[in-house]
């Protein structure tokens, strides 16, 4: 985490002398206890505990009765888990692409010295203030085939129009995607806008002199310059995607059938509903692995970026 910014390094050099005694800087250590406990007991301890127990056949109560990779074998042969992962993949990929594209497009449009910029920004961002439960329920209502979009379009005379994503296994995940994008794109727009504002105005003058068109300038000059912003946005979106839970619970409860299940819901259901802790722990460990896979390139990029400077 290269969060260490200007000023902090100063502080380290000038004030933090090597602690000789444990009592040195005691207040600071006491003040850090909650942080240390959270980092060690919760983040490391609890995760480690779960990983260890994922190799056991714990049912309702956790017990250290090791069974090797049995839980993982069962996990990866479970249709529901495979569908959950597939959904996460589709949702994640679409969500990444659309959020980045829409977020950047909106930010670029807002950056065109337009009128009512504040109004537009407020409109694009307000869904982010709402919870996933609220988001899911509203879109459940809008996508309700009996009353919502489908019936409106049919009412306009297009009788055969069918748009019932929440009742169609094949496209239900896109129904969730529509709601997810509604809630989350505003944030990415904000981050992109901040990135665009950080770009020197002289760039625009230079490209104008060179006769490069606006769209081309964005694609060839601006976007490459915004690489760090994109990376940040990417990590934000990706780590949010893995946690998708409330949205699905509120909007479809995983249905129809198991076609909109997601890994987070699998974990909750097996842990608490099916009384199969080992299986739930294995599933949550796999979720952690997914996050690690996402984070490794990010950490690597950050590390590489630092060297360049």
């Amino acid at each position: 985490m290269a969060v260490t910014d200007h000023g902090v390094d100063h502080a380290r050099r000038e004030y933090a002398k090597p602690p000789i005694k444990i009592f040195k800087n005691l207040s600071s250590k006491i003040a850090a206890i909650p942080m240390i406990l959270t980092a060690t007991v919760i983040f490391i301890g609890c995760s480690g505990w779960t990983i260890v127990h994922s190799f056991t056949n714990s049912k309702l109560l956790p017990k250290l009765d090791f069974v090797g990779f049995d839980q993982y074998e069962r996990l990866w042969s479970s249709r529901r888990w495979l569908i959950s992962v597939e959904n996460l993949f589709i949702y994640g990929l679409c969500s990444l692409v659309f959020t980045l594209v829409i977020g950047f497009l909106l930010a670029a449009l807002l950056d065109r010295k337009i009128r009512f910029e504040n109004t537009f920004r407020t409109i694009f961002l307000y869904p982010f203030a709402l919870s996933f439960v609220v988001t899911g329920l509203v879109w459940q209502w809008i996508l309700n085939p009996e009353f919502g979009v489908q019936s409106i379009v049919r009412g306009l005379g297009w009788e055969s129009f069918t748009f019932d994503p929440l009742y169609n296994s094949d496209i239900v995940i896109y129904g969730i995607l529509i709601a997810g994008l509604w809630q989350g794109t505003g944030l990415i727009m904000c981050i992109m806008l901040a990135g665009l504002r950080g770009i020197d105005e002289d760039i625009w003058k230079a490209t104008k002199v060179d006769g490069i068109g606006t769209v081309k300038t964005y694609l060839v000059v601006i976007i490459p310059m915004m690489k760090p912003v994109f990376v940040t946005a990417l990590v934000l979106i990706a780590s949010g995607i893995v946690k998708v839970y409330d949205l699905v619970v509120a909007q479809t409860s995983g249905g129809p059938g198991i076609s909109s299940e997601v890994p987070a819901k699998y974990v909750y259901d097996t842990l608490f509903g099916r009384q199969n802790l080992g299986q739930g722990f294995a599933a949550s460990t796999m979720m952690l692995v997914m996050v690690v896979i996402i984070l490794i390139p990010y950490v690597y990029l950050q590390f590489g970026g630092k060297k360049d400077q």
């Binding site: 049912k59 249905g255 059938g257 076609s259 842990l271 509903g273 009384q275």
Partner: protein, 410 residues
Amino acid sequence: MKLTKALLSATALCAAATTAHAVDLEVTHWWTSGGEAAAVTQFAKAFNEKTEHNWVDGAIAGGGSTARPIMVSRILGGDPMGATQFNHGRQAQELVEAGLMLDLTDVAEAEGWKDVVHPSSLLDACTLDGRIYCAPVNIHSWQWLWLSNSAFADIGVDVPANWDEYVAAMPALDAAGIVPLAMGGQAWQSSGAFGVLAIAIAGQDAWKAVNIAKDADVAGGEAYAKVFDAAAAAREYSKKTNVQDWNQATAMVIEGKAGGQIMGDWAQGEFAVAEKVAGTDYTCLPGLGVNAVIDTAGDAFYFPKQDDPEVEAAQKELAALMLSKEVQVEFNLRKGSLPVRGDVDLAAANDCMKKGLAILESGNIMPSGDMALSPDTSGQIEDLMTEFWSSDMSAADAQAEYAGIIADAD
């Protein structure tokens, strides 16, 4: 009036030093539909009126699969409620084994449960190592087909008397814009309906071989192939249901928008709330009209152990009360379920309940899936069935999956 009350309570205090103080007993359950809420109110009313304790309602919406995790995590988390509903059988088995549930054996003996609870298998499901840990409150059977008389009147066909006639009428219902078979979207509904079809089509012996003996060969065999084919055929006529909750699906039958629904006898409560009359407005066919049998699933209350003797006393009072004659009648009439006591008078019961009582009397009963399968296995079957009913999965593929689950069942 006030004075009398004060005097009474004073004497009560003097009379028995052990008299408990009023305890607020939180009771969790997943009964949230109209009929269910009316039924559970009977428990609350009796408990508040007949004892000095208070019923604190902890209803959890969304059905058992949503509610059970919450209950279990609270019991395991050291924050037990006063009493909680489970379907008796294996759902709470490990909790009992872990010593987290109150032993009700002394209540059962004092109240003579062994003599009055009928069938006795209900009490067996509450028993572990000879001790009784739960109070069964009703018998619920899945084996029912509910038909809308008005829907069949619309297409000019007599109300079917069995599953085959019903299947034959499905195309006509469909053509008339009526959903032939209402099937809600929640997983337990598709799984339950499949179980009903299995008993009706494959027969009791095959069902027992699969669910009790966990015989994967039977699950993958010919008898069950017929069940999967029948389910696949019925599936095509249930596609337009577009509702999630079971009671919304029942509402479609009540309103004549759907021809019928396979659902447990709790659906009766919904018909009652809508003031529909069995026989004239709707028809019920136990065992799909093929094989008049009922399974003796049901709800039971478990009382998580608390280290407070006063709470314990209140818990035991509630347990005794739930099985008392009067409460059994009031509760079950509203719930649409059958009482667990063979010795109560259900004169007020309607036609459908009487059919159920007669079958119970004749002894044509069988255990329920909840008693035979662990929550883990039931869950896997639910996943499979809900996927099967809501997709185009072929009957053969589904059966292969099913046999695999049974082979791995514990």
